[in-house]
């Protein structure tokens, strides 16, 4: 026992620290190569400005307060849209996973709507909401809805029926059965849905902001394009990449906290 205990310990001490650095080697190397290519004139500045120029543009926008304001607006839209669409998707997933009647009533309709690319609704949404906040929120919510709905439904339907039978034998009420067996069993699948949804969230927001907006990161990029400020355009794209990574990391942290029982999240 003591031998088994002692083996994984040094590994688990070493891994996270190295892990944290290793994942940034490739992005940093790309930026370094890019810088060298720009400075030597291999890549013309009109095509792609040097990372140092992009950083400088970012610094200027940061000082003027424009950058923070636009990031905040985009972040706010993304999270509110995600919350609305995610909770509706979760609610439908729960209802259709637990009740046959509810599934019969709504699933077919939802599957039909799912097959319409939600970005195809942009013209209609602009007609309905103008370029107001609600237009962006609506699109994000719609995009986020389906991955969360589908994965919640799938998670609930695939909970081990033997565990449900066990819960019933041991006298769990419906509420207890849900809290102790069904929901924890569906959680890994729900997290898959959340991570898919986070990707779709940014995608939808970028498209919506570049087409119809008067603030936000996408708007900032489109404005910069009109004035030929290519460094700002590249800056916006990089910020999108960072925000996407941030959202993914946040969901991973949540996953680790709530799924610590899962063999895949132990001793890593």
């Amino acid at each position: 026992m003591s031998l088994i205990d002692s083996i994984p310990l040094p590994r688990s001490l070493r891994l996270p620290r190295v892990d944290g650095l290793v994942q940034w080697i490739v992005p940093l190397a790309i930026i370094a190569i890019w810088q060298v290519a720009s400075v030597t004139g291999f890549v013309p500045v009109r095509v792609l400005p040097a990372p140092s120029d992009v950083a400088l543009a970012g610094w200027k926008l940061l000082l003027s307060g424009e950058l923070v304001r636009n990031i905040w607006v985009s972040f706010w839209r993304a999270s509110i849209g995600f919350l609305i669409g995610g909770s509706i998707g979760f609610a439908f997933g729960l209802a259709n996973g637990l009740s046959q009647l509810s599934a019969k009533l709504t699933d077919t309709t939802l599957q039909m709507v799912r097959n319409v690319p939600h970005l195809a609704l942009i013209p209609l949404v602009i007609l309905w909401f103008g370029i107001d906040e609600s237009a962006k929120l609506f699109l994000v919510a719609l995009g986020v809805f389906f991955p969360i709905y589908l994965n919640t439904l799938h998670g609930i339907r695939t909970v081990d029926p033997q565990l449900i039978e066990m819960g019933r034998i041991y006298g769990m009420t419906d509420g207890e059965l849900f809290r102790r067996v069904i929901f924890p069993g569906a959680l890994p699948s729900i997290f898959v849905g959340i991570r898919f949804a986070l990707g779709i969230m940014w995608l939808t927001l970028i498209v919506a902001e570049t087409i119809a907006a008067s603030s936000g990161l996408g708007y900032m990029a489109m404005q910069a394009r009109e004035f030929m400020l290519i460094d700002v355009v590249v800056l916006s794209i990089l910020i999108y990449a960072l925000l996407g990574k941030l959202a993914d990391s946040a969901s991973r942290v949540l996953e680790r906290l709530t799924l610590s029982w899962h063999p895949a999240f132990q001793k890593r």
Binding site: Q162, L163, I169, M172, R180, V181, H262, Q266
Partner: protein
């Protein structure tokens, strides 16, 4: 306060708790002295799934505290009989009675799979077995006691995924025992374990049965296991009880003794002769 309200039944439980000391156990090596088990009477029991008639009229009386093993070929209906006794499936015809009032906590089942909640620590998994008493104040203490009985007190804060197959099955046994059941039904609980773990689990089953005196019904495909553990072995063929064999061998039983081997051989020949006829 609580002890004052207890019935005579719980007094026997106290006695069996007290007898946990090893020297006290030696005194009652003969038979379980205090019987907290329930008798079981089955009359004309029938069950079919679609056109397939699985049980074709079972009549059976099991006295309180008896250890009964049910053997038979796969598909003979032995697991179905167990599920009906445990109330997991509906009865088509006939009756099962336990001679009096039965609480849901009085009858427990242990399956071939441990069926532990992977997202609950070992102790919380045992607490599930308390049924309606889960919310009571002594739930923790009772679960810990049950875990100690199955020898896993030191694993209380582990996730089930780090336990071995035998340990998981012991947690499942602790969960089944924690509500002090009066009938315990085992559906091939040791079927998935390796040979050595099986033997130590069989000893554990026998020990808790002797300590607590519940009525035990064990479905198994292992005839050696049946004769080693049970007072009585029922052979089921084509949905009926074909043979009812009493195992009159003193406990503790010597595994591999000539007496047990003889009984095992005769039961096996019953099972195999049925095979030849078809």
């Amino acid at each position: 306060m609580q002890t004052a309200l207890r019935t005579s039944l719980s007094e026997t439980e106290f006695a069996s708790r007290a007898s946990f000391a090893p020297h006290a156990r030696v005194v009652r090596e003969e038979r379980p002295m205090q019987i907290s088990g329930l008798p079981l009477s089955i009359r004309g029991l029938r069950k079919s799934f679609g056109d397939n008639e699985v049980l074709r009229g079972i009549d059976l009386h099991i006295p309180a505290g008896q250890f009964v093993a049910i053997v038979g070929k796969s598909g003979c209906g032995k697991s179905t009989l167990l599920r009906l006794i445990a109330g997991l499936d509906k009865i088509d015809a006939g009756s099962i009675s336990f001679g009096g009032d039965v609480q849901p906590e009085d009858i427990r089942v242990m399956f071939q799979e441990p069926r532990l909640l992977p997202w609950a620590r070992v102790l919380a998994n045992v607490e599930v077995g308390l049924g309606r008493d889960r919310a009571s104040k002594d739930a923790h203490a009772r679960a810990e006691k049950a875990l100690t009985e199955v020898g896993l007190a030191d694993k209380r804060d582990q996730w089930p995924s780090v336990l071995s197959g035998g340990q998981k099955q012991r947690v499942a046994l602790g969960r089944a025992l924690v509500s002090r059941p009066r009938v315990l039904a085992f559906d091939e609980p040791l079927g998935a374990l390796d040979a050595l773990t099986r033997i130590s689990m069989q000893r554990l089953l026998e020990r808790v049965w002797r300590d607590q005196g519940f009525t035990a019904i064990l479905v198994t495909h292992d005839v050696a296991e049946a004769v080693a553990l049970a007072d009585r072995v029922l052979v089921i063929e084509e949905g009926r009880i074909a043979h009812d064999v009493t195992i009159n061998v003193a406990r503790p039983r010597q595994r591999g003794s000539a007496e047990l081997a003889g009984l095992e051989g005769s039961i096996l020949s019953h099972l195999l002769s049925a095979d030849d006829r078809t």
